[in-house]
């Protein structure tokens, strides 16, 4: 099942989808989006590529296996709960750091974002893991 249209589409759509998934992940805190949806998009990007080029090629083109991705996601999510312990709060309490306070570029980063990143990778990893195993011939 080699489709040139699908292959070209997949080649160009994949980076766009990955960027879009990151955007969705980041903006999730204030507007619709978040780690779960972003993770689904990231997974969809890989699956689209796999539909065009086959599972084997796709796995070669991404530098970590779906299993690693899932594991990294879980670890990041778990690790995001630890800073709170050092601050003397309960495990998984949100801790925030503000950069450039007061300026136009004010940036707030906190452990919930890290947690969302973990969800993002875990969801994407699990999705590609399942799909790749089903699609593999």
């Amino acid at each position: 099942m080699e489709s040139v249209i699908l292959q070209i589409a997949a080649r160009h759509m994949r980076p766009l989808l990955i960027i879009l998934s990151l955007v969705v992940l980041y903006r999730g805190h204030n507007e619709p989006g978040g780690g779960f949806i972003g993770g689904l998009m990231l997974g969809a990007a890989f699956i689209l590529y796999a539909m065009g080029f086959g599972v084997k090629k796709t796995q070669e083109s991404i530098f970590f296996s779906p299993v690693t991705m899932t594991a990294v996601g879980l670890l990041v999510a778990l690790a995001s709960g630890i800073p709170a312990l050092f601050a003397g709060h309960i495990f998984m309490t949100g801790e925030w750091v503000t950069f450039f306070q007061g300026s136009a570029m004010e940036l707030k980063l906190g452990t919930p974002l890290l947690f969302d990143l973990g969800v993002y990778f875990a969801v994407a990893g699990m999705l590609t893991l399942v799909m790749f195993s089903i699609m593999e011939e």
């Binding site: 978040g34 949806i37 689904l40 299993v67 947690f115 875990a122």
Partner: protein, 772 residues
């Protein structure tokens, strides 16, 4: 030094042992032996203080709220047992260091031995029932590892598992007994129980607690009918048998009974149960040992018999009985440890431990013959070894037993005759007589293999020769700890001409006679065993386990049938029945439906969804059914958008798209519809679907009209930005307020994904193997 630290050091040593072999080489046994030897000296140094009535206590907080601490309670009895464990342990380590030389993974073996030693030491000094239980279970586990050391042999594995199952079952019962025992006291501390024994005796918990504790003690100490695991455990290497199955682990049950004697003992029930089980075990062990031919199995059955004797003596509970129990404990540990080590030596030097294939070894190993001979003299209860004093005391205790005197004396007489007979047989048939053809020329065992037996026998001899100056101070405090109301008897070797001495002489005479006609006796015993005991308990036990496994397998097959559709159906039916029963009993549903302000485009979407659902049900093609469900999904997405649930809508779109891709990928592997389901099955599925859909509808409608409590959404709306700095409430809930839930959820999906991955991979590999 403290007891807690000492035990900790032993555990650490056990963990390090596998790695030390490279550096220590063959001296490992000697180096390791320094640790228990140090402990031996330490506990010996405590003895004078303890003999003046002092108690040594130590406590490390663990779960103080529940009255559970790592506390140690050291009195005369603990010290006596510690000396046995550590003293014999010292020699066992030296012996094992050399004995195990030809086997692989010696370092690990030494580690297991030290691990066991630490656990056993923990049991005997525990001052808290839970502490004791933990160490007790650790002895079971280390025993499992040691018995199964030759794990490439199936019989070693099954013997190890059998021992673990039986002692593990007993351990569970024991835990139950301990918990019940602690209820009247509110603490697990032994000290509190010793201070007020009546609290448990007068409560209704005495009977169940006693039965459970006895189950634990009897399984551990191989009492009839649980005796069979001990002979089975002879699959272990000889150092293990010499240590665990003669002097220490099997005595843990006896230790426990004696330890709890001041609290639980002295009642009628205690007396009857312990005497009955002890007496039966004593006789059964002696009887079964007659027909054995394997040196180690002969010793194992005599150990069973000795354990029975000890339990019987604790049950009897008189002044003489307790004194006899303590002395016999020491006697037995000394001679049985020696004999097991010597059995190992004989096997090592001659290549066999079958008594019918042995003989004439005296010419090759005179020193070993002498040592073993002394140990056997002690076993037969002949002066001047400590065994004589032990046996005299036992006879004395039984002649003056409170009831069933004649029965107990006869049983004891029979047992001792068998012991005399076996002593003669183990020496004369091994070292005397004709020399059969050995596979290799037997030689004197090396120093490390013989030093342990030598010292143990010397200890027995010295204590037998100087009972008043050496044996009495060692044991008197132990007697008082086991039974505070009685005193220790001053031991002596000569009691004058009396009934007991006559019994002893008669025993020896009968033993010699039995040995003279041994062919006839063994033949008779074999005949009786074949006639009446055709099935061994070990076989019954494994048959029981197999039967149990069969039942569970059949049960699992019924419940875990592997049909996904029936799992789903079970879940759906149970859920809808539960929900419907609640709906049935709650207030009647008031429908206030008003469609007047519903926009026309939404009506169109609803019509689309309903049509799609109907066509999904009616179609004969999988693809159409799939597309139809996709239409339903997207229709619902539109409804979400209409009610400004953008997050949900995006998620829904993603999920729907991926579902379709996934379904297409799966579809490729599925067979075509071979046959359409029967009408009955379709009716059934329709009913289930209707039930589920119905309750969902009613729930949604009811949720819209009824309000049970203030909705929690207000809280999230308020706190979302001020507390969590996020305006997207759904996301804030997911990653901040309920982050732990989310963590659990992603863990679950990760596990599910891994499961799917490995299942598909496994199936693929199997089909490839088939192809090839």
């Amino acid at each position: 030094m403290s007891t807690g630290l000492f035990i900790l050091i032993l555990f650490v040593l056990a963990g390090l042992a596998p790695f030390t072999r490279r550096y220590l080489g063959n001296t490992a046994g000697w180096v390791f032996a320094l640790f228990p030897f140090g402990g031996f000296i330490y506990y010996l140094s405590l003895l004078p203080a303890v003999n003046t009535g002092q108690l040594i206590m130590e406590s490390h907080a663990w779960l103080p709220v529940y009255g559970i601490d790592f506390s140690f309670y050291i009195d005369g009895f603990s010290i006596l047992f510690s000396l046995i464990v550590l003293g014999i342990g010292t020699f066992i380590l030296v012996y094992a260091g050399y004995y195990m030389r030809p086997y692989p993974m010696k370092g690990r073996f030494m580690g297991y031995l030290v691990f066991f030693m630490a656990s056993m030491q923990g049991v005997v000094v525990s001052g808290n029932l839970i502490t004791m239980f933990v160490f007790w279970e650790l002895t079971s586990i280390s025993s499992y590892l040691l018995i199964g050391y030759h794990h490439e042999k199936p019989e070693a594995r099954s013997a190890a598992l059998q021992a673990l199952l039986i002692t593990g079952f007993g351990g569970l019962a024991l835990l139950g007994g301990f918990v019940l025992m602690a209820i009247p006291y509110g603490t697990y501390e032994l000290q509190a129980m010793f201070a007020n024994p009546d609290a448990i005796r007068n409560s209704g918990l005495y009977l169940p607690a006693l039965l459970l504790i006895l189950a634990g003690a009897f399984t551990k100490s191989a009492q009839f009918p649980f005796h069979f695991w001990l002979p089975g455990a002879m699959a272990a290497p000889s150092p293990v048998s010499a240590f665990l199955h003669s002097a220490t682990m099997v005595k843990a049950g006896v230790f426990l009974l004696a330890r709890l004697n001041p609290v639980m003992g002295g009642t009628e029930l205690w007396y009857v149960l312990l005497s009955a089980f002890g007496a039966v075990t004593m006789v059964a062990g002696a009887w079964l040992s007659i027909t054995q031919t394997d040196l180690k199995r002969i010793l194992a059955y005599t150990t069973v018999s000795a354990l029975g004797t000890l339990v019987l003596l604790i049950g009897t509970g008189t002044e003489y009985a307790i004194n006899a129990m303590i002395i016999f404990l020491v006697v037995h540990a000394l001679y049985k440890g020696t004999l097991f080590m010597m059995a190992g030596n004989i096997e090592k030097m001659s290549g066999t431990r079958d008594i019918t294939k042995l003989g004439g070894l005296y010419a090759y190993m005179p020193k070993a013959a002498l040592i073993m001979g002394l140990a056997l003299v002690s076993m037969a209860g002949i002066p001047p070894l400590l065994g004589f004093i032990g046996k005299e005391l036992i006879y004395e205790a039984k002649v003056y037993a409170p009831s069933w005197r004649y029965l107990v004396v006869v049983a004891s007489f029979f047992t001792n005759v068998v012991l005399v007979f076996l002593s003669l047989r183990l020496w004369l048939d091994v070292f005397g007589g004709k020399t059969p053809a050995y596979s290799k020329k037997p030689a004197e065992p090396s120093l490390a293999l013989i030093i342990g037996p030598l010292f143990l026998v010397l200890a027995s001899l010295v204590m037998g020769l100087f009972p008043a100056t050496i044996a009495t101070p060692l044991t008197s405090a132990a007697v008082i700890s086991v039974s505070p109301t009685i005193g220790a008897i001053k031991l002596k070797i000569w009691h004058g001409f009396n009934l007991v001495l006559g019994l002893s002489a008669l025993t020896v005479l009968c033993g010699v006679l039995v040995y003279k006609y041994k062919e006839a006796v063994i033949g008779f015993a074999n005949k009786v065993n074949l006639r009446y005991f055709t099935r061994e308990f070990a076989q019954l036990f494994s048959a029981g386990i197999e039967y149990f496994l069969l039942i569970t397998k059949a049960q699992t097959k019924n419940i875990q049938h592997g049909y996904h559709r029936f799992y789903l159906m079970t879940i759906f039916v149970v859920a809808s029945i539960l929900v419907w029963s609640i709906i049935w009993r709650s207030d009647p549903l008031v429908l206030e439906l008003d469609f007047s302000d519903m926009p026309l485009n939404l009506v169109a979407v609803v019509v689309l969804i309903v049509t799609a659902a109907l066509s999904a049900v009616a179609t004969h093609s999988r693809i159409i059914a799939l597309i139809a469900t996709g239409v339903i999904g997207f229709g619902i997405t539109i409804i979400f958008i209409a009610f400004s649930g953008v997050d949900l809508a995006i998620t829904m779109v993603m999920v729907e798209v991926l579902m379709v891709i996934m379904a297409v990928a799966v579809l490729y592997h599925l067979p075509r519809y071979v046959k359409y389901s029967a009408t009955g099955a379709r009716m059934r599925d329709g009913l289930v679907a209707g039930l589920v859909g119905g309750f969902m509808m009613v729930l949604v409608l009811q949720a819209g009209t009824s309000q049970l409590e203030e909705p929690i959404s207000e809280f999230f709306k308020e706190m979302s930005y001020s507390e969590a700095f996020g305006r997207n409430i759904v996301n804030v809930i997911l990653v901040d307020f309920r982050a732990l839930d989310t963590l659990g959820e992603i863990t679950v999906i990760a596990i599910a994904a891994l499961g799917i991955f490995s299942m598909i991979k496994l199936a693929r590999e199997q089909s490839q193997i088939k192809k090839n």
